[in-house]
Structures are given as C-alpha cells and as structure tokens.
Amino acid sequence: MSRIIVVTSGKGGVGKTTCTANLGMALAQRGHKVAVVDADFGLRNLDLLLGLENRIVYTAVEVLAGECRLEQALVRDKRQPNLVLLPAAQNRTKDSVSPDQMRKLVNALTKVFSYILVDSPAGIEMGFLNAIAPAKEALVVTTPEISAVRDADRIVGLLEANGIRNAHLIINRIKPAMVAQDKMMSVKDVQEILAIPLIGVIPDDEKVIVSTNRGEPLVLAADANQRGLAGQALQNIVRRLEGETVPFLDLTPPADDFLARLRRLFRPTE
C-alpha cells in the first residue's frame, strides 16, 4: 500500500518545497520508489530545487487533458533513478485542476510508487484543496514565527475537516542560539499551540540556500559535513516516517567561549 503524503503549511516561504525535494530524495536513497508531485500550478518551484527544470516536456495539465500519457510527463531524476517528478504547469492557474482530477492522477501513481509526496502551494484556496484531496497523511511545515504557526494551526483544522487526521509537524529554520536567548519561539512553544505530533526540527542553515540554488537537494551531498545538521535532520524525518524511533538532534548552541569566537573569526563563512 503506497503512502500519499501532502506537504503543506498555509504560509508561504516556510520551506514546503525544500522539504518535499529533500524528503523525496532521501526516501528514494533508501530504496523506495518515490514520486514527488508539484501541486503549485502557476508558481511551480519543485523542479528547480531538484534541478530538473530543463528536462520537463509535459506537465500534469497535459496528462489530464489527454495530450500525453502519465509516464511521459514523469521526469526521472538523473542522480537517483528511484525518484520521479510530476511537474505542474507554469502557464495555468490553480483553478485549472480540480480535486477529483488530482485524486485520479495520484491514484494512478500509486500503482508504481510506494511514496507519493504532494507539494502544496501556500494558501487555503483551490490549490490547497487540490493538493490535499488525494492525501492520506500530511506533513505540516512551520517556522517558529507567530504568523507561520497561526497559519499552520488553520491548516491543521482544515486537514481535520477534510478527513486527514494523520498530520505530523516539521518545525523548520529554528535558530537554537536565538531560542536560548528567548528571542525565538521554542519547539515547545510551537507544539503547545499546534498539538500535533512532532516529526522533525530542522535548524536554520545557509547550506540549504546553497543547495536550493544549485538544484541539488541537501541530502544528496556525499559527506555528512556538507549535509550539515539540516541535512541530518531531514534524513531523520524520513527514518521517523518509516516508523523508526530516532532521537531528536541536539541543537543546543555551543558555548560561546573565547576559543569558539576565535574560531569563528578565522572561518567567517560558517
């Protein structure tokens, strides 16, 4: 039985697409056949993050219009053959697809793939309803900001009202140093409001921006140092998705002693 998981957040720019790309890639690395579906019609990004933009020939809209077969629209990743992307159309709007059509598309994918990750657009309108229509589970991404948490709360309510009760929380872009100084909401603060099980905490990391711009998901990096804590956190999420119990990363900031300051002085990029 394949798992259909929607990655959603309500607020834009909190890291839905980055999470989808990395989780999809990490699942594929573990040997699963994975399809990532971009449900952000009109503002597609998932192809960029995966570095597959220049290989798109057909999109989901053409499949639905019967202009091509589903297999023709799927873009296979050149680095990880277990991963395919079903791209969204860039020249259409969210209203060009209906929840029923999304359900049909994704159900067709379940015959081949064991994981289907749907990247939801921001907002709670048609695009969101399309993205959640086929899903059985949800990953709600939020950052430790009051606006993102408020929107995530609304999303959890809407997921429940649409029959998706299996929702897990990803807290993205946390800055342990700021939390320690009480300048940022802590994981506990966010959990207190949202009250859904936590599946991962991803620290803020510049490596994510670099990997995003290169179109190479962070989890692809060969050595652990390049992946950083963020890449490690993403891989842990995948392991927890598969039912493993993985302890949460220790994100307490290193003590700010003289040596650490000196070291930072000589490594300004870190």
Partner: protein, 288 residues
C-alpha cells in the same frame, strides 16, 4: 453608555479606569494577575438579530436517534454557510462529539429550506458513514431537494414535522449545551444558541460564540463570547484564560497582561465591566 471608544488594557498601570469598589469585589491574593478588569460597553444595536439566526450545523440527540440540522440558506454575506463550509462544520462536529453516540445510530437530516442535490446528499451520507452513522431519513421543505433525495434512494419527508426549527420563537430557553471535544483552531468559529463546552484548547484565531456560558477545559487563547444575545449574567471560564478578547453580552474586554502562573479563572460582568477572578474565589463568592 461609555462615550469613550478606546480599548484600554487591563493593567494596574491605569488605576483611574477601575471602579471604586474594586477591592471589595474580588478578594484575591494577587490583584495584578487574578483580578483584572476593564471593559467597554458597545452599541447594543450591534447585536443584530440576523446574525443570531444564522446557526451552524448541529447534531442533536433525540429519543435514540440523531438529528442533523443544517443551517438555512441565507443571503447574508456574513453567513458562513456555503456548501464547503457546511461540509467542514459537519466533519468538525462529528469529530468533536463522537463519544456520545453508538455506531450505527440512525440520523435524520433536517435540511430545512436548503437546496441539496443528489451528490451533496451522498457526500453527507458518506461523511456520516465514515463516522459509523447511517443516514435514515431526510426532511426538507424544498421540492427539488426531496426529488434529489428520492432519486438517490433515501427516504424523504417533504413536509417538515419540525416546523418549529424554522419559526422564530419568542422568549425561548437556551438549547442544550454543545460539547466540543477537539482543539478549536485558527479560523474555526463555533456558534451555538446555548452553552458551549470545549474539551481542548481554543487557539488564537479561533472563536466561540455562545448564547449561554463558555467553558473551556484547556487554554482559551482565541476569542470567546458568552451571552451573545445580550444576557449579561453569562460567564466565560477556562483553565488557562489568556484570550485574544472576551465578550459577555455587549461588553468587550481585551486580554489582560500574562500573569506569572495561570490558574482556572472565571470572567463575569459586574458594575459595568468584565472582571476576571480565580475560579476558587468565584465559587466562594457565589456560595457565601
């Protein structure tokens, strides 16, 4: 009525805004946190009747079966009763009260003047089935709905035997309390012509509007309104009262400053303002 329409905060830093009998009202240890008051009388005409008469989806137990009452179709722009919203409310109500009925309890749908097509009826039946309830009968005052229901194979009664649900009643008593066992999240509004009991939190952005009391067995962080039809004797109580705003009858109060430690508290109307008192003290005041 107070002519000043600013919203002063509850805080000891504005002592001139507190009534003189402040001390006698709430004998509490920590006056800055447990007894906080300030309120504002609003225009009573704001309590417009048409808003009151827009109920939400309701499930009501009656002699062994459940009645599912749908809100009537209205043209009021504020009325939250498009089909998608009705579906969401139905889901929410089914989820938040599922302990209170046995599986396979028959449900009678009271559609009133709502126009429902066969697909919508099927959606309702499927939603109920997912909660292990069976749609048995449909009561409607619309011919088209009756035809659609008959075509879809449900038993229909076109003359509503429950006409009293449509008729506006004079001086009616409150309906039975609504028990909500779930978190009321941002964007969810629960309206009920009676007392609302929430077993869970009311998050910021969520709101409860009750004609009776509002009881929150959890943290009240959103907006709560008690006595929405003008009954100033209604109460708002929560284990953790840190609301965005509370309203009782036509009084409005902003959240007080956060105390060091939260205790169960009760908000009530007294001498022209909303006051908040620790639950233990409230009970003592009322009984002695």
């Amino acid at each position: 009525m107070n002519s000043d329409f600013s919203f002063p905060a509850f805080s000891p830093s504005a002592p001139d805004e507190q009534p003189p009998n402040d001390d006698s009202l709430a004998p509490t240890a920590d006056a800055s946190s447990s007894e906080r008051q300030d309120a504002e009388r609003q225009d009573p005409e704001r309590q417009d009747a048409e808003r009151r008469d827009v109920p939400q989806v309701r499930l009501k137990g009656e002699s062994g079966r459940l009645l599912l009452l749908l809100p009537p179709e209205l043209d009021t722009p504020s009325a939250p009763n498009t089909w998608a919203e009705v579906c969401q409310q139905l889901n929410q109500r089914l989820m938040s009260g599922e302990r209170f009925w046995q599986p396979h309890t028959p449900v009678h749908l009271i559609a009133r003047d709502r126009l429902l097509d066969g697909r919508q009826l099927q959606t309702i039946a499927d939603t109920l089935a997912a909660a292990q309830l069976t749609l048995k009968r449909i009561y409607t005052s619309r011919r088209q709905t009756a035809v659609a229901a008959a075509m879809a194979g449900f038993s229909v009664e076109q003359q509503s035997p429950l006409a009293q649900f449509n008729a506006p009643e004079e001086g009616k008593a409150l309906v039975e309390p609504l028990y909500v066992q779930s978190t009321v999240r941002s964007g969810t509004e629960i309206r009920h012509p009676g007392t609302v009991i929430v077993l869970g939190d009311v998050n910021p952005g969520g709101s409860i509007v009750a004609e009776g009391d509002v009881l929150v067995w959890g943290a009240l962080r959103g907006v709560a309104q008690a006595g929405s039809s003008g009954n100033g004797r209604c109460l708002i109580m929560a284990l953790r009262l840190e609301p965005t705003q509370i309203r009782i009858a036509d009084f409005v109060a902003r959240a007080p400053e956060a105390p060091e430690q939260y205790q169960p508290e009760v908000a009530y109307v007294s001498s022209g303002g909303i006051r908040i008192i620790r639950a233990a003290d409230f009970a003592r005041d009322r009984t002695t």
